[in-house]
């Protein structure tokens, strides 16, 4: 049993949301993985789908989701990846769009892949954009929606000033 915030959604759904760095695999999650052992590709970043989880074995992953090969899964090229907590990943994936991504999206163009194991990948045309987006996301976990927007505005202003 883990500690966390109690969440409620109508009409009768309650759950406890916790956030930590260690990820416990769960079938149906999309995660970001790094190849550790293979003939050639050690260090490659992959966006994959968890198919089956057994307590004593490594989980089974796949690059196709439930129906067919989705264009997003597979190797991610370029960009920058960083690690954070599971709670942050869930917040970034929630709908409606989380405020930090929303505020960033209005001013900058970038793409992200969020793994529920706490890993986040960001790619954009220029390195400075990537750095701003990555830092904004990293800082946003404990901030409320309004605070997130304020922080994003400040970061973007600094970016515009320096370029």
């Amino acid at each position: 049993m883990k500690a966390g915030k109690l969440r409620f959604s109508k009409p009768n759904k309650y759950w406890v949301e916790s956030s930590q760095k260690r990820y416990v695999p769960h079938a149906g999650d999309s995660v970001l993985g790094i190849v550790v052992d293979s003939k050639a590709d050690i260090g490659t970043l992959l966006y994959v789908w968890v198919v089956k989880v057994n307590p004593s074995m490594n989980p089974e992953l796949s690059c196709t989701d439930a129906s067919r090969k989705a264009a997003e899964f597979g190797q991610l090229k370029g960009g920058y990846m960083f690690e954070s907590s599971t709670g942050l990943s869930r917040m970034l994936l929630s709908s409606p769009t989380c405020p930090v991504l929303d505020a960033l999206g209005k001013k900058l163009s970038f793409e992200t892949a969020v793994g529920l194991n706490g890993r986040i990948w960001v790619n954009a045309s220029s390195p400075s954009t990537v750095i701003v987006v990555a830092n904004a996301i990293m800082n946003s976990e404990s901030l409320s929606g309004v605070q997130q927007r304020i922080m994003v505005e400040k970061l973007i202003q600094n970016l515009k000033l320096s370029t």
Binding site: G43, N58, K77, G78, M81, W121, V130, I131, V132
Partner: protein
Amino acid sequence: METRLANIWRLTVNEKKFIETALQSDLRIDGRRPFDFRNISIKFSREEGSAEVQLGQTHVMAFVTAQLTQPYKDRPNEGTLSMFTEFSPMADPSFEPGRPSEAAVELGRVIDRGLRESRAVDTESLCVLSGKSVWAVRVDLHILDNGGNLVDAANIAALAALLTFRRPECSLGGEDGQQVIVHPPEVREPLPLIIHHLPIAVTFAFFSNESTVVVDPTHYEEAVMGGRMTATLNANNDICAIQKAGGEGVLQSVIMQCLRIAGQKAYDITTKIKNAVESYNTERALRKIKRHPSSVALDISGAGVNIGKNQNKPVPQKGDSERSNLTSEKSVADQSMDIEGEAKSSEQQQTNKIDGDAKNFIGGPSSWDPYPAGVNSDFLKASLASHGITMPSRKEQDSRGENMSGEAKPVEPPEDINVSSSNIEASETVLRTNGEKTLKDAVKPKNKRKMKSSSTSGR
């Protein structure tokens, strides 16, 4: 086995390429410029000689302890300084408990060399009895979190801990003057180490494309870099040590540029360390004051200053109840100090004082000796009276007796405070009529009133 693999941090090809690409446009992943240091925060704990330094995400603690030991045969007049590093497994998944790894040993060596070769810590002052007994100072460095650049952070922690460390004072005694007596801190104020200058380590990371250099690499940058160099300098731009262990080859011009940058950084960091130590010392003085409200401060100045000349401002307000409780002891203390002031004009004593005069308290560690001419036992008794509010008089006598054995000149201690106060009062009136301003005038009138009842008064 799988969990082991899962716990090791891996670098993706994406990250490596991105960090290098960003560096070509002078951008680092945390938004710093190539020659920016991260934020340094230095904290101290209640125990003297321990410091905790945070450099961004890197977290290091240093502890300084000292022990009496035999000196090395070829250096009978010098104390020793030794460094021990511990890379805690909670700092990084690749740190294993047990034997120090190669990186741990290298870190210890770099910091040790910076302090020892440059003679930053004065080891000759650590000698107590030549050839027999010296102080061995030991610095323990604990790495708590590895966010990159452990050497610089550990160096700052070691310096901060050494600056705030106080060792017990000891003197020679016994029948033949060969016995070393260590005085506990309640009896005699412990002394700081003599540190001549602060060698600061600045680490540079080199990357595979031409002359990309950054200062203070983070964990990610360290995994991607091609080579590193640590330069240890002090604020006067003297180079104390340089360490470049393997890695990529670097042009000579790049090295010279790095040394120039390191000089500036060393100056900044030295100022930061000094400020942190100063505010810690002030805070510690304030804490001491609250514990011993009856202490009165004297000015610390260079040798030879007459205490009568330097008059302190009156002691500020303290809790009334406190004062009334301690009045009798305080009056004794003040009076004894008066005698002290008159009798030994060249002697300086530093007790602690609040607020405004706390600034005077900051004497540099290298020039401050509270007992340059030895200590008078009368004076000691007075300070004991002020310090040991809950100490019974017998304990005082015991410690006085103990101090006696350490003293060169035999002075007869009075039996108890009452007797002494009458003695002192008699002499005090003599002093009073001198007209010369003494410490008595620094005491608030309220105290004087209570004392006046027991002696003749005159201003």
